[in-house]
């Protein structure tokens, strides 16, 4: 696939999505998505995955069910979501009103040598989510779309929502969030007012 020059810059897209985030809670999928979320500004309400490929959306479901008064956003890549594609069915079946998923789709496995992904080979994750029963699905190709989805994810109703965000494969520098899982877990729980015992 040739790279169209008008595709979104992933860092700019994620920064805009997380601007003035309010009480938004964020789970990021391993690899570039975690770097993007960290680059947009570290926050106690971020949980960065460094492994557990395919699990980001399901962590989002468990969190959304535990925190129904907070909007929860999973930001992940096409490859990570493809590995957990069944979780789209599980999430749709349980209708978590406060959960949104943003799939940063460059059509490639960016961390492992830019092999083309199923998404790059024609699979449409937004259509799969719609078929699974997501309440709302959207394909985003410009910053106006990001702005609209940003407002949408802050609402505690109408979920689950999935946005497929088409991004460029242009190289960006790594921005590495903390890797200590125990630290990230305890920091996140403290942010929610849960005492570390």
């Amino acid at each position: 696939m040739t790279q169209a020059s008008n595709l979104l810059d992933r860092r700019e897209a994620v920064r805009a999505l997380l601007a003035d985030r309010g009480d938004l809670l964020v789970i990021s999928g391993l690899g570039s998505s975690s770097y993007d979320v960290f680059d947009a500004g570290d926050h106690d309400g971020n949980f960065y995955l460094w492994g557990a490929m395919g699990g980001a959306a399901m962590m989002g479901l468990g969190l959304a069910q535990a925190q129904p008064r907070r909007p929860v956003l999973v930001i992940t890549g096409d490859g990570e979501q493809l590995m957990g594609v069944g979780s789209l069915l599980t999430i749709a079946a349980h209708v978590p009103a406060n959960l949104s998923i943003a799939v940063l789709d460059n059509g490639h496995f960016g961390e492992t040598g830019m092999q083309r992904s199923h998404s790059g080979l024609g699979a449409r994750l937004d259509a799969i989510a719609k078929g699974a029963g997501f309440q709302s699905t959207v394909k985003i190709t410009d910053m106006d779309g990001i702005a609209a989805f940003r407002s949408d994810v802050r609402r505690l109703s109408g979920g689950p929502k999935l946005a497929l965000i088409r991004i460029s494969t242009t190289h960006v520098d790594r921005a590495l969030p903390p890797r200590d899982g125990v630290f990230l877990k305890n920091r996140f729980r403290q942010h929610l007012g849960i005492a570390v015992t």
Binding site: L25, I27, F47, L49, W50, G51, A52, M53, G54, G55, A56, M58, M59, G60, L61, G62, L63, A64, Q65, A66, Q67, G84, G86, S87, L89, T90, A93, H94, G181, V182, L184, K185, F188, R189, L192, I194
Partner: protein, 184 residues
Amino acid sequence: MNIAALPDDITNRPDWPGAIYRTLKDHGVAQISYVPDAGHSRLIELSHADPTIKTTVLTTEEEGVALSAGAWLGGERAVLLMQSSGVGNCINMLSLLSSCRFPFLTLVTMRGEWAEFNPWQIPMGKATAQAFEIMGVTVFRLERAEDATEVVSAASSLAFESDQPIAILISQQMLGRKKWTETK
């Protein structure tokens, strides 16, 4: 044509699924996820019937590992129900537990051991305990219905108060020999 399995003389057995349900409630479990198994059917029914427990059916078992971790991040205790054949599916996702020291409790109904008639169940059944152990999960065994409360209570304390990953393997002997009937 479907083939459904029915446990034999179920009315004569102690209500160990009920005991497990009450024990999980006592320990504050608020989310239960599962891939169905006939041996878990009563507990699954009890969970669905309880409006204070969020009950989630999964497409594959590793989803439940991630779900439990997310629930804990949000301040809730979760339990995963599955059959032994699903344990292998969880291997890489279990790394989440040790990397972040997440509490984790799973109840696993065993196949491939006591009076198993399906040879395809045996390889994963034989490897179930080892599969958990190589990923750092502590394995308890529940062999007798009358021990259900004590074993599940001890495992819940270890999981949720000492941040440990725990699996309870429920003996196939407790589930009884399967009688197979054909239904439309």
